[in-house]
Symmetry: C2
Subunit: 622 residues, 2 copies
């Protein structure tokens, strides 16, 4: 075993699939200090080790799994991991996150991060057990759905306590909306499953039994208690959120008028809200589950009723999936949404991108741009749940129209032509999540500038969406001061959640008022490294700048920091945000302010040398 | 822990769900000696404890799980269990068998048998761990498919090494063709899943870590070696059978002309044989699995390709399922057969009864007895694989025509009327398995007389079907000496497999020539009890007589030992058995000979007092 240093083993496992070779690298203490863990380690390694112009689906791309310094300790809600790579969907950095049980096993097996490089010459899976590792033939699981894959591998390894992260058929078929699944959790977005598939890597199984210690037990107890106290004091976390989970958002966003439906041609009406958010909780919930070490357990188990979906269970649908398979497709059959959610998990597809792509295709069909000849005869009208489920399968298997959609709406629109680009709801190729940013403009600026494309999780504007006034309050319909706010949101979320691996739900719902001070104290207690509150935000800023430089090296500039044409030209209809849009002028105003706040060049949107030097990133040239 | 006696713990766990009470009963040594284990213990307890006229789906019925004396020892292929109850499908005794991993856990937990009685007042599951037991709330898994149910229960118990036997939606909905599933194995036939559902018992989870010892290590080693040597010498077991499993039967039975298709209106042609038996092996196999302690591993993992079934994995389809979802429905789409097999396992439906019922409905539809108005619009023609899959779901959820079929073809025909009884292929309510007995008449006599209805596994006529001349050779088209042969087959299979829990595949394929002597030696080595070869056959005879008395007590007599009208009036068409049928006269001739061989009354088919006394069953009156 590597020697354990509070928070870190100091070891990164690198697996070269081309050579079938393993090596352990030291995790330099300065990387631990300056990038903390999780996405920080992922972005740092990706920038340093993946050259500009690398084919995301080629052997030179790398797939990085990185846990946080708290993972495996008694810090609640910290047993998560970042998965980082170059995205085949956007060409930018991809960063997704997953909880469950796999991350803590990876940490307990002795590693802070796992880097997968090269390409196996045949279907392969990786087996890591307490510092031992080997590659195994994956022919018996190639083609399988994700839950079968996990079970068969556990059986093969004769270890029912192993945890498995794997891809489904979508990842094998290089769908650019393929995800990675462990247990029933997903590192969902940006096509990370296709990267794994391109390497012929079906799965990673891991089992760890080492103890993860902290640098100072005394400091740890006090700061952990403070955190748990703040969680207990939250009036939503253990009640509404634990009992109903993210589907609560359907009601909340509908009331705010920012729940988009039917490929963003409308916002939710009361009927949709009633159908989805409330009904599912009353009539389909059978239980809930926890990630490892989580006292909340927000993940709801829903069970479909009757035929043809009866008996199908989903860990979900989460809020975003009600948006994508419900809102975007106009489907109000709850059981079909539950079934599609499960099917997406089994096939290994990102529910957001897949549902948005299906909604996009439905709008084109309704408009006559697509006809039955393009859809294998599917009547692809809004609301047709059977067509939705079938098209989902076609996406995973790249059949017919499914093949076109499998590359995401940006590329699909280019292939379909006939003006369909106008209806493709994405930023930098990443399909839009479930917030109509015409009514939440800082969130819109975040979509436009996030280093991963339209990503609600890189700088969630909880000031607009939840009314939490930190660092200041904000009105979603206004563009005022949104540049500064978005910088803060991105840096704070990066440092406080994406690096520490703390669950991004408990941050706004419970921890926000104490987050910086508590994180400072907790990081010292766990790792022995000291951070001021400013240091912590600076870690977030450092990572956002380094990620921006990765994207700049790939050719992304200010021109790419945009929003779909529809959001900039079509005003919202009805509800509290009636008439709102984000004009090019408003976006430019927000971008100017954002780049200024970030110290980036106003013309190119690229970090200045001074800013990079300020962040200790002098080595990052251009 | 109970004290261990070679082969037995001497303990039966009785769970009364009405009272939420448990008690441990001693397994009397004379029951162990005279009934050996497995089905012997099951039939003995069922006869003694379930009164005549008991409602199979009422609280007074009992559900008995019993392992064999070898289970948990190093005897290969013996980690199986019998599940015994009164059948809701037939009203006779139900006995089904399953391997996998659950049975050995039950044995290692300290029990030779588990008896479930009464009815829980809400959905419940049972958790047994090394002599500790409790009932738990099953609301979180009620309604779930069987693989989800198993995983969720393991998660709830925080024990990934627990093994779970459970029912799916079909069992909850009291489908009389519902089965019990552990891992991906089924105690499949006769509606045992409905019995479990009627008790509000969703699942039984069990974990055992005790060591199972044998009475004499020295004798054990020698006899076990003899058994393993015979297995290794078999030219089919480790080659063809391990590599292809029971689907080999499709080719074999097609060549023999006894693979029935389209509700027994025809026998297989070359195209069917090519489509199913051979193609699946070449193109869909991804791996194979073993039951605990099995060196063969006959169970093939098949994976469906393309849409709409792509990515669906089945442990199977076994031979019988190719017959039911392929042959009987006329479906030649392999992927749909794989998908239907998996769906049946997930919903907890017996594939044989379900497929035969669908084939029956298809024939009625083709004839116009059923119309779209009866089928929810399904085009229920032979070969329509999408209709097959949908109807399967409707059976599990008892929707529309599915509700009618869910009670089995016998009752369905009574409800549908219009002469449909003529097309209902069953004996005593149990749908016919995959052997056209017009070309294998001892097997037909077995269907007619088996104590569980048309059951291929109670006295498999391997002489006719496989050409194994033990105790003498037999021609399938002839009725000569079939009474004596069927008695021998029933008694031998009961003793050698159903009581010892030895897998019924390795008996004809490897062990048959040494089976009686080896079993005699092995029983002595494991249990310390001594048996001559005649003693062993007499155990089988004892159980067949006691089971017959159970059925007689329920009103079954000679008149019920019959075959479907079609087999007795319509000659086979084409192939080696062209023109053959089993006339009433032939059946009567075989029955007379069979009753005579058995010492049963010729008029009633009921065991005589002399015969019962001879078998030590004096206490069984009338």
């Amino acid at each position: 075993m590597p020697m354990y240093k509070g928070g870190y083993w100091g070891k990164v496992l690198v697996v070269n699939l081309t050579e079938g070779a393993f090596r352990e690298e030291d995790l330099p203490p300065e990387i631990a200090k300056n990038f903390i863990g999780g996405v920080g380690i992922g972005v740092k390694y990706l920038f340093d080790k993946v050259k500009a112009g690398t084919d995301p689906l080629g052997p030179d791309n790398k797939l990085i799994f990185a846990v946080g310094p708290y993972t495996g300790t008694a810090v609640p809600c910290a047993n998560r991991m970042a998965v980082v790579s170059k995205s085949p969907l956007t060409g930018t950095i991809a960063a997704s996150f997953a909880g469950g049980y796999f991350p803590v096993e990876l940490k307990k097996a002795g590693y802070d991060a796992l880097i997968v490089e090269g390409k196996a010459d045949k279907p392969t899976y990786l087996w890591i057990r307490n510092g031992e590792f080997r590659l195994r033939d994956a022919r018996s699981v190639w083609g399988t759905q994700t839950s079968d894959c996990q079970q068969i591998i556990k059986d093969e390894l004769n270890d029912q306590n192993a945890r498995v992260a794997c891809i489904g058929p979508a990842g094998e078929n290089l769908s650019k909306m393929a995800c990675i699944i462990n247990e029933r959790r997903a590192a969902g977005r940006k096509g990370l499953g296709a990267v794994m598939g391109s390497k012929n890597l079906k799965a990673i199984a891991v089992r760890g039994t080492n103890t993860v210690r902290v640098a100072s037990e005394d400091k740890f107890k006090a700061t952990r208690s403070e955190m748990i106290k703040a969680m207990k004091e939250s009036f939503v976390l253990y009640e509404a959120f634990a009992q109903a989970g993210t589907p609560l958002g359907v009601e909340h966003m509908s009331l705010m008028g920012i729940f988009p439906i039917k490929n963003w041609t409308a916002t939710a009406e009361l009927t949709i809200e009633e159908t989805l958010g409330l009904k599912v909780q009353d009539s389909r919930k059978v239980g809930r589950t926890h990630c490892y070490g989580c006292p909340v357990g927000c993940s709801q188990l829903h069970l479909a009723k009757g035929t043809p979906y009866g008996g199908i269970l989903a860990e979900g649908p989460e809020y975003e999936t009600f948006y994508s398979f419900g809102g975007q497709t106009g489907v109000d059959n709850i059981d079909s949404i539950i079934a599609a959610d499960r099917l997406a998990d089994e096939l290994g597809l990102d529910t957001i991108s897949a549902g948005v792509a299906i909604g996009f295709a439905m709008e084109l069909y309704e408009m006559g741009i697509l006809a039955p000849a393009h859809t294998n005869g599917l009547e692809l009208r809004f609301g047709n749940h059977e067509a939705m489920v079938k098209l989902l399968q076609m996406i995973a298997f790249r059949e017919g129209l499914g093949d076109v959609l499998s590359d995401g709406v940006k590329v699909a629109a280019q292939r379909i032509g006939k003006g369909s680009e106008k209806y493709a709801m994405h930023v930098k190729g990443l399909e839009l999540p479930a917030y109509d940013v015409r009514g939440a403009k800082a969130h819109g600026l975040n979509y436009a500038t996030s280093y991963t494309g339209a990503d609600h999780n890189r700088g969630y504007a909880f000031q607009e969406i939840m009314g939490i006034p930190i660092p200041f309050s904000a009105n979603g319909l206004s563009v005022e001061k949104k540049g500064e706010l978005t910088k803060w949101n991105q840096d704070a979320q990066t440092a406080l959640c994406d690096c520490t691996a703390i669950c991004s739900f408990i941050l706004p719902m419970a921890l926000m008022p104490i987050a910086l001070s508590n994180t400072s104290a907790l990081l010292e207690a766990v790792t022995g490294n000291t951070y001021t509150e400013d240091d912590i935000l600076k870690v977030g800023e450092r990572i956002n700048n380094l990620a921006r430089m990765f994207n700049a090296r790939e050719g992304f500039t200010r021109k790419d920091d945009s929003l779909p044409e529809r959001l900039m030209t079509e005003p919202m209809k009805g509800g509290p945000c009636d008439g709102s849009l984000i004009s090019q002028k408003e976006l430019d105003l927000m971008l100017d302010e954002y780049y200024t706040a970030r110290g980036w060049d106003l013309e190119t949107g690229i970090p200045t040398k001074e800013k990079l030097a300020d962040l200790g990133l002098e080595y990052v040239t251009e």
